[in-house]
Assembly symmetry: D3
Homo-oligomer: 232 residues x 6
């Protein structure tokens, strides 16, 4: 149950979070492998990218949803966040103003957050980079947000076309951001073993000169594609 019943100005109390070993299973795993271990479709909108290509992050989501062009609730979310959290800010893909800047990034860094993921704009690019906080956004704009709300902290949000719930595991790297629902995380972690094994086989095959996987012709044949003639 929410901390306050006023829809639009609610701070949901903290819910379940992944424990350390579960998080560890996803730390430094390429986002592509995480997608492969799920259903291949869990990536956020491809335009949400790190400010620095070498940035990566992994942590439980603390979600905040805000009126487009407003960051009152974003500030409060930093206030209630726990170390290691990834702040996931849903702005309805607002691009006319930024949703946060250097001060929010510095506060988040000082509190030990793992990073910020936002489907909108930041500002103070050089300041955010200097803060060292992994920051994944759609872009940047010098315009500033209002401080009027509404918004909610700790609820389910849609960010980059994907549902993110608080406690879901957020993994980000140069390729993009993927979200593992907390309830699915153990199964996905287990499936990562198979994903890695498959990649290793591919690498070994390619190293041995078998450049094209065998399943390609098999699958094409099943589908009725005559693959012979082009060889002649």
């Amino acid at each position: 149950m929410a901390a306050t019943s006023l829809t639009g100005f609610r701070i949901h109390p903290p819910g379940p979070r992944p424990d350390g070993p579960l998080l560890t299973a996803f730390r430094d795993v390429p986002t592509g492998q995480v997608c492969d271990a799920m259903d291949r479709l869990g990536a956020l909108d491809w335009r949400i990218k790190p400010l620095s290509p070498e940035s990566s992050l992994c942590g439980p989501a603390l979600t905040v949803r805000t009126r487009p062009g407003d960051n009152l609730m974003v500030w409060k979310a930093v206030d209630v966040a726990q170390p290691g959290d990834v702040l996931v800010i849903a702005t309805y893909e607002h691009t006319v103003t930024s949703t946060f800047g250097e001060f929010v990034a510095r506060a988040a860094k000082a509190k030990g957050l793992a990073g910020i993921v936002c489907d909108g704009m930041c500002r103070d690019l050089s300041g955010i980079r200097a803060s060292g906080l992994p920051t994944f956004v759609l872009g940047a704009s010098p315009a500033a947000p209002g401080k009027d709300g509404p918004g909610e902290i700790g609820g389910r949000v849609s960010c980059g076309g994907i549902v993110v719930a608080p406690g879901d595991i957020v993994v980000g790297d140069e390729d993009g951001v993927v979200v593992v629902p907390l309830a699915d995380a153990p199964a996905v972690a287990a499936a990562l073993v198979g994903v890695r094994a498959k990649e290793a086989r591919m690498q070994a095959n390619q190293a041995a000169g078998r450049l094209i996987p065998e399943w390609v012709d098999t699958r094409l044949a099943e589908l009725g594609c005559d693959v012979r003639v082009v060889k002649g």
Copy 2:
């Protein structure tokens, strides 16, 4: 817990649904009033509109998420749907092919569904209209989807930028579509009383020639805007 553990090909078992009186509180309520009773931000992407302006719908969501350009799981969702459900299809805003057509619409109508909301394309516009099923989509394309999956039924989806969970109440009319989270529905229903009262006061004021609400000048004054000079 899901009926099957295979991420990407799961059919979640039915969960809680709104009872009749709760649904009744939202039936034939303008979508704008429903938004006002929440936080003003719960509307799906504005481009999702009914095929016929006079269409409206109200019912609990049965969600289905599908690989873009595929409708294997959509067919299965119609199979497992209950009368009165609104099928909410999340396609990642796929526009290259349709996701359903006349046959899905006729099956849904025959099963007593309340309607379909989809963030993608339908096809067979005249056939769908003839079926009488309220249908809210982004548009139409003659191209057809594949039947390969993956997809999931009964999970949380992002549709039109909004989280929809199974059992959430979906309300649609000419203005668009709004989703009331099931847990919030009683409070939102209660708040509708105040929304209607406020609208009635506005109507009465306008009928009496008080065209501009009093709060306009009050709020502007609070914000430091000098509203006098322009009168002169």
Copy 3:
């Protein structure tokens, strides 16, 4: 000089407006002819269209610029508008919430405004249509705006990619909306005579079976295109 110096919450005092005869020169003129009499490029973003195809409007602009998703200043603009004005609302193409609805439209109609042009969303489609106010928008959404500002009334705005200043003449019909800068309006009105004469010649030529204008082959020849061979 503005009524108040507070940037972002200003109501500029009324400036020059077109007189009656000048306005009359544009009334019921197809928007295409108005474009032809200028530089062919003065049309607003094509997606800004009337709610009803048969709607048309012509009048001096009263401009209002508003924070995306806010209509505090829109209400005030209706308050200070003069009969015959076209309210031109610049929202930075905001689509997540509506910027006005039936109550604003009814107030505008009661005050004798000529119509509303907005680069964003309205709501209450049936109510606005019932009001009889010509309304040109990008679309509709049931979500409601905030009442916090900032915004300005009577300044220059960018709406649909075109600069609109207060007093500019706004002409709208089924094809779209075109804006004639007030200072250019007399010259444009004069040029309309030539536009109409040219159209009349085209009609006469086509009625006489000369379907393709003579200048086509002339211009192609100038540009080095051999137009002979395809006739054989």
Copy 4:
């Protein structure tokens, strides 16, 4: 070989065209069935729609590619078109100005063209509708194009994301537009028989109460989806 070697101002001589019986095989066939008889992916961008829902067209393409915002070559294309042709205008999805209007439509109608398909804007909506020419466009704008080129007639173009070559068969109805490459047309026409038979079976099954196709559960089982539990 082209009529002139000047790239950008060429009129390619007429090439092969479908004969009458081949065209007849596609006339009044729903566009969805044509897509099904190909690879399901041949539809133009879904936003290209008829001005009037009841419009339909079928004919060989006469292609024209034009600099965005220019219609010099469009006029010439009407001049060289043959009765029954569908003029396919590729504008690089230009939306700032129209590419044609009532006069082009009336000339095309007078010459017996089957219709116009354009990935850009028209103008004079009421005039084009009055001409009776089936017209499929992205939208309308009152702004007018230039007359400077470059452009080409009778070459291969990309329109709505699909390659169209002169002589390809263009089929359009309320659902959208599909293009059948001329070389594939006989095979596609033959495949239409199977498409219709499959649709008839679906109709019969649905009329008999078998609402969901049998292949749905079969395919899901192949893919490892447990479809039992949700029935309980």
Copy 5:
């Protein structure tokens, strides 16, 4: 009054420009601070970014509006520009061809312009970078523009969704571009003092461990948000 009365091919004579001290007040000021000193909304479309992150510019606008895909008037604008000007090119967001390339950039650099801001494409990326001219664009394309017009120099334009008039002060850095209307510039310059003071307080507070501004809880409480429970 314009130099010529021909709408679409006009070169407006130079108007008022900011004097040196006024310009100095904005030089090397972060664009975010400039936005804060106005109404927070004056930033151009966020996609208009410098070719090199370290680029910055500050100067009075010389505006040019051009037919999409044409740069006849752009060349003339460089010709009439004065040292220190920022050339602001409005192309209606044209992306199919570039609007300028290395030669325009080199001419602008040689004439002492402060930079170019364009809502469209450039080309010759490496050449423009080598010229050293600060260049802010939407992107790059190798395709070249025509030389046919129409266009106008020195009028009011819409660029990146913002009105720019000649003489307005254009400030750009890595975060984006902001435009200060000339008439507002003294007041905005004065307001920058307060903006800087506020930023200094924020920095001091954060350095002292007060990471979240005090106004956050105050504002939330005003708005009815219960901020207590989440602390427990």
Copy 6:
């Protein structure tokens, strides 16, 4: 004639390709010059850019068209490609999943391909960069494609809004990608001489202080623009 008659699963046999001297004429030529030698309009969508700014490519196209979000046919295309080919992948601008990643890039590199151009997403950015294969894409996403088809190899495709046929010459650099139809390639190669001469004259003029080309005032005068007054 195609290798198999099954529309949607076809591999067209190799057709004509440019010989070595013809290819050489385009190698290391800036894409802007190639556009100038054609009709200025042959560039792919500007968003298709190299992963590394210093990448460039030149080679005959091997085309592949694929269902959005699927790469079965992409793998087969690498299998049938010849050394020096540029793989041109048309995905209907699919952005929800990647279409290829490091393994495809490594196979392509090992087979001696000249590069990949794709109107969609790749993944494994660092791995692809490490492979050394010039790669031009719209962006990157960690999500993976399906392996179900349909698709075709060696047919005409629309990629980035441009028709690409197998054997067409694809040239790419930092500015973007341009495609020269094979039949036009000799004439375009010949025209490059004139393009280079014109550029050399421009450079010489600018070096001599003649910054603005003489044709500017000439053309403006032809078009009726009074260019005198602004000099005074």
